[in-house]
C-alpha cells in the first residue's frame, strides 16, 4: 500500500467529516420546535408574555439567539478540543454522556458483527457449495426472512417468545462487561442476536454469490485437478478471495449499526448511545444530539477508512485505482 494512497484517503476523511458536521448542525435546527420552546411549553402552557420572556431568556442562556454560523463555528472549535458543550437535558458535559454511553453501543455493535460473521459466512459457504439443494434453499429462505423483518419486529418477537416460552426476559439492570461479563452478556446477547439476524442475511447472500463466482474460476479448477480435497479447495483457495466484498460490506454495516442500535437499545433496555440519542432528539438537546451523531459519523467514516486500507492491502490492484 503506497503512502500516497494512505495520504489521499486521509485527506478525503477530513472534508467528509466536516460536511457531516455541518449537515448535522443545520438539519437539527430545521426540525420544528427548539429546546427553549419545549422547556417552556412541555407542561402544556399557553403563549403569554411571561412564556415569551422565558423563551428569550433560555435562548440567550444557551446561545441560540446568535446566528447559526456563529453557533456552528463556536461548536466546531470547541469540538476540536474535545469539548461538546453541556447537555441541555442532563445539565452536564456531553463528553461525560459520550464516555458513559459510547462504549456500551460499540460493544453491542461489535457483538452483533461477531455473531453475524460466525453465523452468516458458514451459511453462505454451505449455500454455495450445495447450490440448488435443500440446504441451499433453507439458507436462502432464512436470508430472505432476515432481510424482510425489520429489526424492531425481530427484537419485539424475540422478547415476546422469551417471555412466552421461558417466562424470562433479559436483565433490566445494566451491568458493565468489566463488572460482570456473564451478566453483561445475558443482557446484550439478545439485542445483538436480533441485529445479527438482520445483517447476516446480506452477508450470507454475498458470501454465497461471491463464492459461486470464485469456485468457477480457473485456479480453483486447477486446485481440484491437482487432487486437493473439496474442503481444502473451498476454505483455503476460494473463500479468502470471496470475502473481499464481504469485508467491505461488514465495514459499511459496522458504521450503520450504530444508527440502527437506537431501536434495539430501547426494546432491550440497554442504556447505550442509541437510547440516549432518542431522548435527546425528542427534547431538542442540540449539544447531545450533535455530539452523538458526530461520533456515529466519525465511527462510520473511521471504519470505512480502515476497510479501504484493508481492502488495498488484501487486493494489490486497488492501490493503483
Amino acid at each position: 500500500m503506497s503512502s500516497r494512497y494512505i495520504a489521499r484517503r486521509l485527506l478525503m476523511f477530513v472534508p467528509t467529516l466536516l460536511g457531516a458536521s455541518i449537515l448535522i448542525f443545520v438539519i437539527l435546527r430545521l426540525v420544528p420546535g427548539d429546546i427553549a420552546e419545549i422547556l417552556v411549553y412541555q407542561s402544556g402552557g399557553e403563549r403569554s408574555s411571561i412564556q415569551e420572556t422565558q423563551i428569550t431568556q433560555i435562548r440567550q442562556e444557551l446561545g441560540l439567539d446568535r446566528p447559526v454560523v456563529v453557533q456552528y463555528l463556536d461548536w466546531a472549535a470547541a469540538a476540536m478540543r474535545g469539548d461538546f458543550g453541556q447537555s441541555y437535558l442532563q445539565r452536564r458535559p456531553v463528553t461525560e454522556i459520550l464516555k458513559e454511553r459510547v462504549p456500551r453501543s460499540l460493544e453491542l455493535a461489535l457483538l452483533t458483527i461477531v455473531i453475524a460473521m460466525l453465523w452468516a459466512v458458514p451459511l453462505g459457504v454451505i449455500s454455495a457449495v450445495r447450490q440448488n439443494t435443500w440446504a441451499d434453499y433453507l439458507v436462502r429462505v432464512l436470508s430472505i426472512s432476515g432481510l424482510s423483518m425489520p429489526i424492531f419486529f425481530t427484537g419485539v418477537l424475540m422478547l415476546y417468545l422469551l417471555v412466552r416460552f421461558f417466562g424470562w426476559m433479559p436483565p433490566l439492570e445494566f451491568v458493565s462487561f468489566t463488572a460482570s461479563p456473564v451478566e453483561n452478556l445475558k443482557q446484550l446477547i439478545w439485542p445483538a442476536l436480533a441485529q445479527a439476524f438482520y445483517i447476516s442475511a446480506p452477508i450470507t447472500r454475498l458470501t454465497r454469490s461471491q463464492l459461486l463466482e470464485v469456485i468457477r474460476q480457473d485456479y480453483v479448477r486447477t486446485a481440484r485437478a491437482k487432487g486437493l480435497g473439496e474442503q481444502r479447495v473451498v476454505y483455503r483457495h476460494a473463500l479468502g478471495n470471496s470475502l473481499l466484498p464481504v469485508v467491505t460490506f461488514v465495514g459499511w454495516w459496522g458504521g450503520r449499526l450504530l444508527g440502527g442500535i437506537v431501536i434495539v437499545e430501547i426494546i432491550f433496555s440497554v442504556p447505550g448511545m442509541g437510547s440516549a440519542l432518542a431522548t435527546a432528539v425528542s427534547q431538542r438537546d442540540y449539544p447531545a444530539v450533535q455530539a452523538m451523531v458526530f461520533v456515529m459519523a466519525l465511527v462510520f467514516l473511521g471504519i470505512n477508512l480502515v476497510v479501504d486500507f484493508l481492502y488495498a492491502w488484501l487486493d494489490p490492484r486497488i492501490r493503483y485505482a
Binding site: 420546535g33 407542561s43 402552557g45 442532563q90 426476559m169 433490566l172 433496555s269 431538542r284
Partner: protein, 531 residues
C-alpha cells in the same frame, strides 16, 4: 378468540377482587425486600420544583416530604407530613403550619422552618419557572413567613382551596443548604430530602434506585429496604417486564390497555391483581376560536354535536373511560353533575342521529360544500388512532380533516403558540383532586391549557366564585351551574371523556393503594413485601 372471550370473566373477577380488597390490609407488615417498578421515561433533570413530567416526580417521590400529603392508606384524605398540625384563620386567608421537631435531612442536617421558607420563596419567585407547584401557588399566596424554627405562616391573596395545593406531590420541601450549595435540584447529588428513602443511584437511561432512610421521622417506616425504578421506554418492553415478573407494579403512565391486561392475566394468573382505575385525566378536543372555521360559534357547536364520545371511548379506550363529563363523579364525588343528566345533553345523548343531523345543517349553513382543514395531533400513545376515528365522525357532517402529527414535545410547543386550527386529541392531567383544577387548567380565559383562546366571562366568574366558596354545598352548586353552562356553550375545549386505564400489582406487594392523581402515593412509604 374463544380463549380471549373465556378470559374476560376471569379478568372481571380479578378486577372485582382487586377493587374490593385493598392489598394487604389484613396482614402484619414485615420489613425487607426491594420493590421494582418502572419509569416510562428518562427524567434527565430532577428538579421537582422546576420540571413538570411525571417521570421527574416519580424519580424523586420517595426522597422528599411535603408539609402535607395525601394519606398513603386513604389517598382521598389530606394528612400531615412535615407539618404535624395546622390552623386556618376564620377568613381562610392565613394558614399556620406547626412543624415536626427532630426531623433530619438525609445528610444529617436539621430540618427547620427556614427550609420551608426557602422552598416556597423559590417556587413563588416570579422569575422562577415552576410549572406545577409554582403555577398553582403563585395566584394564591401573598407571602410565606417563618415565625420561629418550627412554625411557618402562609398569607393568601384571597380564600382559596389551598391545602390540596400544599399537599400536591409537586410541592415538596427542599433543603435550604442544598439549594444554597447546588443552586437547583437538577442533579442526583442534590437529591437530599427528608423522605422515607434516600437517593442511591441514577444510572441514566436504565435505573433509578432509592435506599431505605433509617432515620425517617416516622418510626418503623419505610418497610422495604429499597425501590428500583427501571427506565423502560418501549411499550413491548414494559409489558414483557410485567409478564416476566421483573416489575411488581404498573402504576404509571401510560396505563395498560385492556388487551395488555388480558395478556398479563394469561401470563401471571393468580400472581397479580389487575384493576381498572381513573387516571385523573380528561381527553379534550381543541378548536381554535380565533381561526376559521371555528371562529364561528356554530361550527364549534357542530363539532360538539357530531363527536360520538361513547364510540370513541368504546373503540380507542376499550371502554375504560367516562364519556362526556367535565367532572368525573368517581374523582370529585357530588361536585360532578350526575352522569344521568350529562348523558341526556346534546352532543352526548344516544342515539346520535338527531345531533348529527343538526350538526350537518350548521356546517352546511356556513360551508355548503363542506370544509377542509388540518388537524393537529401529537404522535404519542394511541392519539393517532383516536384522531383517525374522530375525523371519520366529523366527515359525516362535512368537516374533512387531514392529520398533521407532531412529535411529542414539539406538539406542545405548537399548541402553546396557537399554531393550529383543531387538535384532535389531547389529555390533560390534573395535579390534585380539587374540582376546580379542570376549569383553571382548560376553561377560564387565563387557563394554562386554554389553547383555543376560549373566553366566557360567566365561566371565569363561576370558577372564581366556586374556588373561593368555603361552604361545600354552595361550592358544589356553583360547580353544577358551571358544568351545565359549559356543556351547552360553544366551547373550544370539547370534553370527550375522563380517561381510565388498567394497572397491576404483584400480590406480594402489600398495602399499596393507587393515588387519585398519577402523581400521588408513589412514595412506597407504607408498602411492604409479603415474601
Amino acid at each position: 378468540m374463544k380463549r380471549i372471550r373465556a378470559l374476560v370473566p376471569m379478568l372481571a373477577l380479578v378486577l372485582a377482587v382487586a377493587l374490593a380488597l385493598p392489598a394487604g390490609g389484613q396482614d402484619k407488615p414485615r420489613s425487607g425486600g426491594v420493590v421494582t417498578w418502572f419509569d416510562y421515561g428518562d427524567p434527565g433533570r430532577l428538579d421537582i420544583h422546576a420540571e413538570s413530567p411525571l417521570s421527574v416526580q416519580q424519580a424523586t417521590a420517595g426522597i422528599y416530604s411535603g408539609l402535607l400529603q395525601y394519606d398513603p392508606e386513604d389517598p382521598v384524605k389530606i394528612a400531615p407530613d412535615l407539618a404535624e398540625r395546622w390552623t386556618a384563620s376564620p377568613d381562610g386567608r392565613t394558614y399556620t403550619f406547626h412543624l415536626r421537631r427532630g426531623v433530619k435531612w438525609h445528610d444529617g442536617q436539621p430540618f427547620t422552618a427556614a427550609d420551608v421558607k426557602a422552598t416556597f420563596d423559590r417556587v413563588l419567585n416570579p422569575g422562577f419557572k415552576s410549572p406545577k407547584c409554582g403555577a398553582r401557588l403563585k395566584p394564591m399566596v401573598a407571602s410565606v413567613e417563618a415565625l420561629d424554627p418550627n412554625t411557618v405562616q402562609f398569607r393568601l391573596k384571597a380564600a382559596a382551596p389551598f391545602l390540596p395545593s400544599i399537599a400536591s406531590a409537586w410541592c415538596r420541601i427542599a433543603a435550604k443548604h442544598v439549594l444554597d450549595k447546588h443552586g437547583d435540584l437538577q442533579k442526583p447529588e442534590a437529591q437530599i430530602g427528608t423522605g422515607p428513602f434516600k437517593f442511591k443511584r441514577y444510572e441514566r437511561g436504565n435505573l433509578i434506585e432509592w435506599e431505605k432512610n433509617k432515620d425517617y421521622f416516622v418510626p418503623g417506616l419505610p418497610y422495604v429496604d429499597g425501590v428500583k425504578q427501571f427506565i423502560l421506554v418501549g411499550g413491548p418492553t414494559q409489558l414483557a417486564a410485567a409478564k416476566a415478573g421483573r416489575i411488581m407494579l404498573w402504576d404509571t403512565w401510560p396505563p395498560m390497555r385492556k388487551t395488555q391486561a388480558e395478556e398479563l392475566a394469561r401470563a401471571r394468573g393468580d400472581a397479580v391483581d389487575i384493576y381498572q382505575h381513573p387516571v385523573n385525566t380528561i381527553w379534550i378536543v381543541y378548536l381554535h376560536t380565533q381561526k376559521p372555521p371555528f371562529d364561528k360559534p356554530e361550527m364549534r357547536r357542530a363539532v360538539n354535536l357530531a363527536i360520538d364520545r361513547h364510540e370513541l371511548v368504546a373503540k380507542t379506550l376499550e371502554g375504560a373511560g367516562v364519556p362526556c363529563a367535565i367532572l368525573d363523579p368517581k374523582l370529585v364525588g357530588d361536585y360532578a353533575l350526575p352522569l344521568d343528566e350529562v348523558k341526556k345533553l346534546p352532543g352526548c345523548r344516544q342515539p346520535k342521529d338527531q345531533d348529527v343531523e343538526e350538526a350537518k345543517k350548521l356546517v352546511a349553513k356556513h360551508y355548503p360544500n363542506g370544509v377542509d382543514l388540518e388537524v393537529a395531533v401529537r404522535s404519542v400513545g394511541n392519539y393517532l388512532d383516536r384522531a383517525q376515528l374522530l375525523l371519520t365522525q366529523l366527515r359525516r357532517i362535512g368537516i374533512r380533516g387531514t392529520l398533521k402529527s407532531y412529535e411529542s414535545a414539539a406538539g406542545f410547543a405548537v399548541f402553546g403558540k396557537g399554531d393550529f386550527t383543531m387538535i384532535a386529541t389531547q389529555d390533560r392531567a390534573m395535579d390534585t383532586t380539587d374540582p376546580g383544577d379542570v376549569f383553571a387548567l382548560v376553561y377560564t380565559t387565563e387557563a394554562g391549557s386554554n389553547w383555543g383562546k376560549f373566553s366566557d366571562p360567566k365561566v371565569d366568574d363561576l370558577t372564581d366564585r366556586a374556588l373561593k366558596e368555603p361552604d361545600r354545598a354552595k361550592r358544589a352548586k356553583l360547580y353544577h351551574e358551571l358544568q351545565r353552562h359549559l356543556l351547552q356553550a360553544d366551547l373550544s375545549g370539547i370534553p370527550v371523556a375522563w380517561v381510565e386505564g388498567y394497572y397491576f400489582r404483584d400480590k406480594k406487594l402489600m398495602n399499596h393503594r393507587p393515588g387519585w392523581t398519577a402523581y400521588d402515593n408513589n412514595t412506597f412509604m407504607k408498602v411492604w413485601l409479603k415474601e
